[in-house]
Structure formats: structure tokens, C-alpha cells
């Protein structure tokens, strides 16, 4: 609003008009502000308060100080949840970005029917977080599912990809990698911005495809890579639906897919320990914020801004 008023003032419009603009802006922004305050800010503050209480949901909360936070570090399943989540994030996010970049490079070559392929590859991103796909995934990767039938055709005996504790998390990582559409579109936009003359000049100097990729594409794309990395990291930390559906809400088999958010949900709604769950949410916020800060600090050393 302030900006709009400023612009109006510098343009030297009349007093009346300026007021009208402000009011219109306020009206247009009101739903958004209401949403921010009621749906985001209020629960945020409330959960901070609740994280210092013993709160069963069924009774009023009672203040217990930092006990929820100290208890976390004596809870073996809390550490299991951290381990599962970090493994998932650190493995699946780089793989997903690599897949997205590779596909974006192929599509950038000016394929016929580009719009069609772009849409097709984007589809998984729209569907990947959905309940339906998680259920389908459970079927496809079942002990008698499609994947094992194909493997059986080649004489390989498969395992229960989502029901075996050693493989379930890996299968969920594949599901996450598969939803590369959103970062792919952003990469594609980034690739379009790389001036063709750089490549031409490099080619004349005798640079091969790999050399052009390493010395031109990657450096010019680092801000985009960075942007995608930050967003996907945050998203991956909060994965919930896939594990919830695939494991029937338990984080199983044997806690092998006990994502942090899943454990948080279980604590809040099955164990009626909403205070503890709130503390876990704030701990996750600190972890994610910490990762993001580290990311930004590290970015000084590898992100190249061309301006």
C-alpha cells in the first residue's frame, strides 16, 4: 500500500485520487491479509505457545516450560524420524534436480511438439503429491505389482518395494524424483535466457558439448539451480502424503518411512500430545531455516550472478 501511495504521490496526482487508490488497494488486499492473519499468523503464534504446554487436545493446555523440547532428545523415534527425513532429503533432492536439468536440456533443443512434452513431463508434479498416485504407487511396487512382473520377465525376482523395510524409503525417493516437472520448467526458462552467442563463440574455439555445458550452461544457470535447490529442500522436508498413504499412516514398515511430519502428526492426533507435536513443528522450522541460511552462505561460493 505504501508503495502504491508513493507512486501516486510522485506522479503528482490529486489528494482525492490518492485516497481512492489506497482504499481500493486495501479492499483488494483484505482477503489476503485476513488469510495471512487467521490461517497462518495466528496458528503460528498459537503453536509456539502450545509447544511449551502439555496439551491433549481434549483438555485445556497447561504450561510445562521447555520440557517438550528436552524430551525430544530422549525419544528414539524422534531420532529415527530425523534420520529418515534427512536421508530422504539429501538423496532425493539432488537426484530430482539432476533429472529436471537433464530433461530441460533435452527439451531446450527445440523439439517439435515441445509444448506437448513440457505438459507431459510436468504432469507428475501435479499428481505426485496426491493420494491417488500414492495408492497407485503401492500397487505398482507391490510384491506382485507391475515392476516385479516386468523384472520376472527378465528372470529377476523382485522384492516388496514398499512393504520391505530395506526398500520402502528408496521407493518413496523414486516417487519424489519422478515429480521433477516444476524445477524442470524453471530450468527450461533459465536455459532460454542463456545467450546463443556464448555457445557459438565456444564452438568456434573448439569446445565440445560437455565443455560448453560445464563452462557456459552451469555457471549461467547457478542462480536457477540455487533457487530450485532451496525450494525443493524445503518441500522435501515437509513430505507427508506419500509416506502416509503408502504406510497406511504408520510410517512403516518398521518406521522405515517415518517422516518427521508423519511422526509429528502421529504424536498430535494419535497420542494426543499436541504440545509435543507443536514443539516438533518448531524444531523442524529451526532445522529448515538453518539449512536455508547455510545454503545462502554457501551460495556465495558457487552461485554466479551475471549482472
Amino acid at each position: 500500500m505504501a508503495v502504491i501511495q508513493e507512486v501516486a504521490r510522485t506522479r503528482g496526482r490529486g489528494e482525492e485520487r490518492r485516497k481512492g487508490d489506497g482504499r481500493a488497494a486495501a479492499i483488494f488486499l483484505a482477503p489476503w491479509f485476513a488469510g495471512l492473519i487467521l490461517i497462518t499468523a495466528f496458528p503460528l503464534v498459537a503453536s509456539l505457545y502450545l509447544s511449551f504446554t502439555d496439551y491433549s487436545l481434549l483438555e485445556a493446555p497447561s504450561w510445562i516450560g521447555i520440557e517438550n523440547y528436552t524430551r525430544m532428545f530422549e525419544d528414539p523415534r524422534f531420532f529415527q524420524a530425523l534420520k529418515v527425513t534427512f536421508t530422504y532429503v539429501l538423496v532425493s533432492v539432488p537426484l530430482q534436480l539432476a533429472a529436471a536439468l537433464a530433461l530441460a536440456m533435452v527439451l531446450d533443443k527445440g523439439l517439435r511438439g515441445l509444448a506437448f512434452y513440457r505438459s507431459v513431463y510436468y504432469l507428475p508434479s501435479l499428481l505426485g503429491g496426491s493420494v491417488a498416485i500414492a495408492i497407485l504407487w503401492r500397487q505398482v511396487f507391490g510384491a506382485d505389482g507391475l515392476v516385479n512382473q516386468v523384472l520376472g520377465f527378465f528372470g529377476v525376482e523382485g522384492v516388496g518395494w514398499v512393504s520391505h523395510p530395506d526398500y520402502a524409503l528408496g521407493t518413496l525417493m523414486v516417487l519424489n524424483v519422478w515429480t521433477f516437472g516444476a524445477p524442470m520448467i524453471i530450468f527450461l526458462a533459465g536455459l532460454r535466457q542463456v545467450p546463443a552467442m556464448y555457445y557459438e563463440a565456444a564452438s568456434i574455439d573448439g569446445a565440445g558439448a560437455w565443455r560448453r555445458f560445464r563452462s557456459i550452461t552451469v555457471p549461467l544457470l547457478t542462480p536457477i539451480i540455487f533457487f530450485n535447490l532451496v525450494l525443493q529442500l524445503i518441500g522435501a522436508f515437509q513430505s507427508f502424503t506419500q509416506a502416509f498413504i503408502v504406510s497406511g499412516g504408520t510410517g512403516g514398515p518398521v518406521d522405515s518411512t517415518l517422516f518427521y511430519t508423519l511422526y509429528l502428526y502421529e504424536k498430535g492426533f494419535s497420542s494426543y500430545e499436541m504440545g509435543y507435536a507443536s514443539a516438533m513443528a518448531w524444531f523442524l522450522l529451526l532445522v529448515v531455516a538453518g539449512m536455508t541460511v547455510v545454503n545462502f552462505l554457501a551460495s556465495k561460493f558457487w552461485v554466479f550472478y551475471d549482472d
Binding site: L57, A143, S163, F226, L231, V254, F269, L284, A289, D307
Partner: protein, 440 residues
């Protein structure tokens, strides 16, 4: 890249977006279902009383319940019943959230593993105002917490062995005498069926994901899963024996491998061994016989669990399918009690819902609907009638925190099936984890 913003502002922009996204997503992730509830008031005249009735279930139940509500409103002008329903998975989240928001439904459907949680925290209150004369005392007492009647059983189920005679016949194995068979014989029979029936058909589905089976074994040995005082009453040896049966069944291939067992566990009645004609036996709640029969297309039978004459006493019991409870803070206790009374005792209600909420606990009502039951439900009724004289007693209401046993049981049983824990280790883990859940 052509960029209009300066380097620093752009980076700050990215940072702000990223941090805001982190904050917003992290903290809203735990808010779950909103407490917003449907409230279609169709009466709403002067002096009208409005009560809300919460239940879980399938579309069929929703339809029938709406008919029941219409009937009640017709007979009781001035009382409007607002329906508030969802499926089982969402029900407890929604109920807890509504309670937290001070918006508890007036009449609440409850389940044994949650009854104590809600009663001890004063959410549901005394129901002695409701007429329960027709409900047997030993069944009614399963709704008492600390001497107060906080839930009235809608109907009863038994945890029993469901068997497919056709698969037995195809395999050339005789159906067991369920009054006499032991747990070892059960393992043996399952193994024989698997061998004779060939690839893709097994003797039995793994039973270790549900604690009800453990309770039956414990009771056969004179123990009980929970004591009346809310502590654990099952011994380490019994738990280890319970898990050992699964391992024996895997060893003689009477049941599928661990991965498949986990998958069948997640597949519900429709996708189960019995439901897909891929197995001869499975342990289920008796009210699921209809769904299992429909899915399999075979005429399935109910049997007693093994071991009923092997140890000190019988272990099978009647479990209330669900309970009706009344909010302790309702503004309309009289109308709520009237509605529950109607649900339990009105013969027309029973004719509408038949055994959908268990075989009716009200004996007069049960008698009245017997001729109307479908074949599978008829079998359930006969089985329960036959079982009745053998039942020694019914288990006490599970203690606070007992709903966590579902997840604990699944976790530990999976460890056992994948042979990451021995039955003895599993027994220790069970006592420790369930002990912690019901202590807190």
C-alpha cells in the same frame, strides 16, 4: 541472463520467499482437519432444539443413518438432529479438533480404544438417563469407566476365524473341529493347504497385526491383555508364543512371506487373502463376514479361534462394535438421551441398520431383526448365539492411550515377520512400548 532488479534486492527477494514458505508450510502442516462442520438446519423454528450426532463409516451407513434421523425427527417434532460424519481415518482427528475448539458434538459414536481417553478427560459424561433394560449386564459393563456408564454398546462382534470351505475342499483338507483345535494344529492345517493348493494360494493370512488375537490367547491362559486397573496383564511368554505362531506359519509356508503379509494387512477385507480367493483362513471381526463373502464370492464360515479347549479356559469374547456417548458439556442432555434411547431401543431403527453397528446389543431388538438378515449376517447371529454360553467374561475397557497399540502392534509384528526381532525380543518391546503408551 537479463535481469532488471539489482543483485542484492533479488537475492533478498528469494530469501524472503524461501523463509516465508518454510515458515508457512512447516507450521500449517500440523493443523490438519479444520473444525468446520456441516450444519444444515432444516427445522430451526421457535423453541426448536438442535443436537449434533457424530459417527464414522461408509456411504451405506451414512444413508441409513440419515433415514434413522429423519424418522426420529418425524416422531419428535421440535428436535433437529444435525448429522456430522466422516470415514474412520478422519473421524478421530476431526473429533479431537472439534473438542479442542469447544465444539464437541452432543451425541458421539465411540470405540473401546478411545473411550477411556475421552471419559477420563471429562469430554463424555454419565449416561444412566438412557433406558438400557434390554441390554445384558455383562455387555453394558464394557461401557463403564471408573464406575460411570460413559458409553452404551451399539452391538457386539467376536474376533473369529473366517474360513473358506471351497479352498479347503480344493486342497483336499478337512475343515477343523473348531471346538477342539489347538494352535499347533492351526499351523499344521495352514501348511497342508498351502502345499496342496499350489502357487499363489496360502493356508492363512498373518494374524499378528491385531492385538485382539493376543488378547484371546492371553485369556485362554488365564491372563488378559489389560487388567481392570488399566495395567498390562499379559506375560512375556504369552506374547512370545503369539509371535512364534507367525514364524511357524512362515516356516511351513502356511502363510505368505513377510512383504506380502504387510501388503495384505494394508489391503482391507476386499484385498485380503480370503477376499481375493488366495487363502483359506483369516482372523477377522465377525461383522466383516459380509464384506469378505461379497469380495470372495464364496460362502465363508465362522470358526472359533484355535486353543479354546487347549488351556485353562476359553478366550473368545464379545466386543462392543461401537458405543454411543453423550458430550459432558451438551446443552441438551435430555434430548441427547432421548435420541440415544431411540437409536438403541426402537425396532424400526434396528430394521434399518440391521447389523451395521454390530449384532444389536438390545436382545429384544436383535430377536426382531433375525428374519430380515442376509445370509452372511444370519451366520454371524447363529455363531454368536452358539458362542454365548462358552464366554467366561468380557475384557475391561482398555486404558488411556490404548489407541496407540494399533501402530505399535503393526510395527513390532513387521519386525518379527522380517526376522529383525525374535519373538522374545518382540515381547520385551511390546511390554515396553505399550506400557509407555498407557502410562502417559
Amino acid at each position: 541472463m537479463r535481469v532488471t532488479a539489482t543483485r542484492t534486492t533479488r537475492r533478498r527477494g528469494v530469501a524472503l520467499v524461501a523463509l516465508a514458505a518454510a515458515g508457512a508450510l512447516t507450521l500449517t502442516a500440523c493443523s490438519g482437519d479444520s473444525g468446520a462442520l456441516p450444519s444444515d438446519q432444516d427445522g430451526g423454528g421457535d423453541g426448536d432444539v438442535e443436537i449434533r450426532f457424530a459417527w464414522w463409516g461408509s456411504d451405506d451407513r451414512h444413508k441409513t443413518t440419515q433415514q434413522i434421523i429423519d424418522l426420529f425427527e418425524e416422531k419428535n417434532p421440535g428436535i433437529t438432529v444435525v448429522p456430522d460424519y466422516t470415514d474412520w481415518d478422519g473421524y478421530w482427528d476431526k473429533l479431537a479438533t472439534a473438542t479442542a475448539g469447544g465444539d464437541t458434538p452432543d451425541v458421539i459414536t465411540q470405540e473401546e480404544r478411545y473411550l477411556s481417553d475421552y471419559a477420563s478427560r471429562g469430554v463424555i459424561g454419565d449416561m444412566s438417563a438412557v433406558d438400557t433394560a434390554e441390554i445384558p449386564e455383562d455387555i453394558l459393563s464394557t461401557g463403564e469407566v471408573d464406575g460411570t456408564l460413559v458409553g452404551i454398546p451399539t452391538g457386539v462382534n467376536a474376533y473369529a476365524m473366517v474360513a473358506d470351505p471351497q479352498i479347503f475342499a480344493d486342497a483336499g483338507v478337512d475343515m477343523p473341529d473348531d471346538k477342539a483345535w489347538t494352535w499347533d494344529e492351526y499351523v499344521d492345517i495352514a501348511g497342508k493347504i498351502s502345499k496342496a493348493a499350489g502357487d499363489g494360494v496360502w493356508g492363512a493370512q498373518d494374524y499378528g497385526f491385531n492385538e485382539a488375537g493376543l488378547n484371546v490367547l492371553a485369556r485362554q491362559k488365564g491372563e488378559s491383555l489389560y487388567n481392570a486397573d488399566g495395567t498390562l496383564g499379559v506375560s512375556k511368554e504369552t506374547i512370545a508364543e503369539f509371535f512364534q505362531t507367525s514364524l511357524d506359519l512362515m516356516a511351513n509356508e502356511g502363510q505368505p512371506d513377510a512383504s506380502r503379509s504387510v501388503e495384505y494387512q494394508n489391503a482391507g477385507p476386499e484385498g485380503s487373502l480370503l477376499g481375493t480367493n488366495a487363502g483359506a483362513m483369516g482372523v477377522w471381526w465377525s461383522n466383516q463376514l459380509g464384506a469378505l463373502s461379497d469380495a470372495s464370492g464364496h460362502e465363508l464360515e465362522l470358526l472359533r479361534l484355535p486353543g479354546e479347549s487347549q488351556f485353562e479356559r476359553t478366550g473368545m469374547y464379545f466386543k462392543p462394535a461401537m458405543y454411543y456417548s453423550i458430550s459432558a458439556k451438551t446443552e441438551h442432555p435430555e434430548e441427547s438421551a432421548k435420541f440415544v434411547d431411540f437409536l438403541l431401543n426402537d425396532p424400526e431403527v434396528a430394521k434399518l441398520q440391521l447389523t451395521d453397528r454390530g449384532l444389536p446389543a438390545n436382545l429384544t431388538v436383535r430377536e426382531a431383526i433375525l428374519p430380515e438378515l442376509a445370509a452372511a449376517d444370519q451366520k454371524v447371529a447363529d455363531f454368536m448365539a452358539e458362542l454365548e454360553p462358552e464366554i467366561v467374561d468380557n475384557p475391561p475397557v482398555p486404558p488411556n492411550g490404548a489407541n496407540e497399540i494399533q501402530d505399535i502392534m503393526i510395527r513390532i509384528n513387521t519386525e518379527v515377520l522380517f526376522e529383525r526381532m525374535t519373538p522374545a525380543e518382540a515381547a520385551d518391546a511390546f511390554l515396553k512400548d505399550v506400557g509407555a503408551a498407557i502410562a502417559g
